[in-house]
């Protein structure tokens, strides 16, 4: 049973997508299937996380081919947490899409392709094999190409070409890195790699391969200096697609970095984690400056996606149990908030008549006061106002940074936070307080009753999650603490996959202190 639960995050969306394609001619059936599949995925994600927390790391060997020869699926605390949060985002966005997607995009197969995207995301989270990870990245990319260009507007095609081009380069880098690593070690099972890589006599080669992985995953995660494609593309597709892209896609890159640089490349951490540290610092500052320079709500949020990727990678680069826990906590918070912000921006765009340019916004407090209240939650959380979830994430990161005396990084993080507060204040002033440039082109009340609820419900749900994390952070903190410890002491992971006790692992930057979480 547990084995099936570990494979369920891949099987459920894949089956849903197949059924959606069989029902190609019947959009209503597809809507139902999409919703049912998303709910099933949330249930499976929840069950998987509770099993992982109660019974330890779950491993299943596909086709009963023993590791390291077959493909292994592994659910450790980080994977299970990410699957659950991705499933919740998938559900919220699927719900929103029911009210938002236009008939043309629906006939083009939005629901089926969306489920395939979820397959790729969840597959990347649960796989324990590096080549398989590459395959899930491909699944994710190809479906995201389709979602990005679905609708066929001129600016969409323009964005899709940029997106395809940069991702081809990233994919080529990833494939090259995987091939080189296979050439050096003769295995691609991640647990097996974590034993073999320290034994390789020619360690500089490993460091070079590690840098290739940083480049490949850095492009996917939109780290400096590979972030430029993101603000150029994320504002063009439909709102549901924007939300799931902003919420999940770049975070899969961060997840892959976290997995690879805690499990496999830990020998030369001064070099690899140093590079990550510098990239993270610059990413934060560049992202937040870009968001301040933007004159459009959607573009500002796209830049914010970049900025907060930097914070997570900072946690990874510090690499103490506390810092990794902070990165995991921050990732959960950020996924929820970014999805919420993009869904909210979609509603604001509807109200402002199809544009999120600051010049066209204004008077939201008069037209939709309840929406202001809803939007305040993700905005406040983005800025890090206590007691919302962003505050705790930043607090953990600052503490982890101070403990390891990374004062510059902590400074950059705080400056980024301050500038984000500035951005949030400005957006609030432009969107809510300013007098509208012209009377609203379209009121939300012109939509049917049911559709309005479909659009609002996901926002409400995500805001509730943000508030409950903020008011009761202990549960997620404990969970993040477990993630942090399982990432620094990977012997349990290796033991679970290979069934043998591994030789002693090289230590991370001072990672052996087994200090309790705050």
């Amino acid at each position: 049973m547990n084995a099936w639960l570990t494979a369920a995050p891949i099987l459920i969306p894949m089956l849903t997508a197949a059924l959606c394609m069989v029902a190609w001619k019947h959009p209503v059936v597809q809507r139902g299937l999409s919703l049912l599949g998303s709910i099933a995925l949330v249930a499976a994600g929840g069950a998987l996380l509770s099993i992982v927390l109660n019974q330890g790391i779950q491993v299943v060997q596909m086709g009963a081919w023993a590791a390291p020869f077959g493909i292994t699926l592994v659910a450790d605390p980080l994977s299970a947490l990410m699957v659950l949060i991705a499933a919740v985002m998938g559900f919220c966005v699927a719900l929103h899409a029911l009210g938002d997607i236009d008939p043309v995009r629906e006939k083009g197969g939005h629901h089926a392709v969306f489920q395939i995207l979820m397959t790729g995301v969840c597959g990347a989270f649960v796989t324990g094999d590096l080549f398989n990870l590459y395959v899930w990245f491909e699944v994710m990319l190809i479906s995201s190409f389709v979602l990005l260009s679905l609708g066929g507007l001129r600016e969409q095609i323009d964005a899709a070409i940029k997106y395809v081009a940069i991702n081809m380069v990233a994919t080529a880098c990833l494939l090259l890195a995987v091939a080189l690593l296979y050439g050096v070690t003769g295995t691609l099972n991640m647990a097996d790699l974590s034993i073999r890589v320290p034994e390789v006599p020619n360690q500089p080669v490993i460091s070079a391969i590690a840098v290739l992985f940083i480049i490949a995953f850095g492009m996917k995660a939109a780290l400096f200096p590979f972030f430029f494609w993101l603000p150029a593309t994320y504002h063009t597709p439909s709102v549901a697609v924007q939300a799931i892209f902003a919420g999940l896609l770049t975070k899969v890159g961060v997840y892959a970095l976290m997995r690879v640089f805690t499990l496999i490349f830990t020998g030369d951490s001064g070099w690899t984690h140093g590079i990550l540290m510098v990239m993270a610092g610059i990413t934060m500052i560049v992202g937040v400056l870009g968001s301040l320079a933007a004159r459009d709500l959607n573009r500002a949020w796209s830049w914010q996606v970049v900025a907060h990727i930097g914070s997570m990678v900072m946690g990874l680069a510090i690499a103490t149990p506390l810092a990794l826990a902070a990165a995991a906590f921050y990732m959960v918070h950020d996924i929820i908030v970014k999805t919420n912000l993009f869904l909210g921006a979609g509603l604001v765009r509807r109200l402002a008549g199809g544009s999120t340019d600051y010049a066209r916004l204004g008077g939201l407090f008069k037209t939709a006061p309840w929406l202001c209240l809803l939007l305040f939650v993700p905005l406040g959380s983005l800025a890090g106002f206590p007691p919302l979830s962003g505050f705790w994430g930043k607090l953990l990161l600052v503490r982890a940074g101070l403990e390891t005396e990374h004062y510059v990084m902590v400074g950059l993080l705080l400056v980024t936070g301050l500038l984000t507060i500035w951005l949030v204040g400005r957006v609030w002033a432009e969107m809510v307080w300013k007098a509208p440039a012209e009377p609203p082109a379209m009121a939300i009340s012109t939509l049917s009753f049911g559709r309005t609820y479909l659009l609002i419900l996901p926002l409400l749900l995500l805001s509730l999650i943000t508030v409950s994390i903020g008011l009761q952070p202990e549960r997620l903190l404990n969970l993040a603490g477990q993630v942090g410890h399982s990432l620094t002491d990977t012997s349990a992971y290796v033991q679970a996959v290979l069934g043998t006790t591994p030789s002693p692992q090289p230590t991370l930057l001072g990672a052996l202190e087994t200090e309790a979480m705050p």
Partner: protein, 133 residues
């Protein structure tokens, strides 16, 4: 659509041969080089030739079903056999089950075959419809 008597006569002969050959390749792929992907490509090329000679509407009449449905059905045929081992003996997903020479991997290959046929013909149909308009 090309209005060529030679092509039309040729395709009438070629199409059945190509379909048979594609199934042979699919079966051969069980133990030797070949398989669902190559077989599917050959089958799709047969139908694409038919579309070239007689027009894309004639191809749709010949195919009877929407290529997208073929694609979806192929995905299902590919996914579902993976569960058989689990249902019979609790083995993990994708564990192969055999009944003599025939087993779940063959079903998986048929799934791949259908997905390839469906995907290629969807592309052919979309591109040629655009050209004929």
């Amino acid at each position: 659509m090309m209005d060529s008597l030679i092509l039309r006569t040729g395709v009438r002969l070629l199409l059945p041969l190509m379909l048979l050959f594609s199934i042979f390749i699919l079966w051969r792929g069980h133990n030797e080089p070949g398989g669902g992907f190559v077989g599917g490509l050959i089958c799709a090329v047969g139908f694409a030739l038919h579309a070239l000679a007689f027009g894309v509407r004639a191809m749709r009449l010949l195919l009877k079903v929407d290529p997208r449905t073929v694609l979806g059905a192929g995905l299902l045929v590919g996914i579902l056999p993976g569960f058989v081992g689990g249902l019979l003996s609790g083995a993990p997903y994708m564990t192969s089950q055999w009944l003599g020479a025939v087993g779940t991997p063959l079903l998986f290959d048929i799934g791949v075959y259908l997905v390839v046929v469906g995907a290629i013909l969807t592309m052919v149909e979309t591109l040629m419809e655009e050209g004929e308009d």
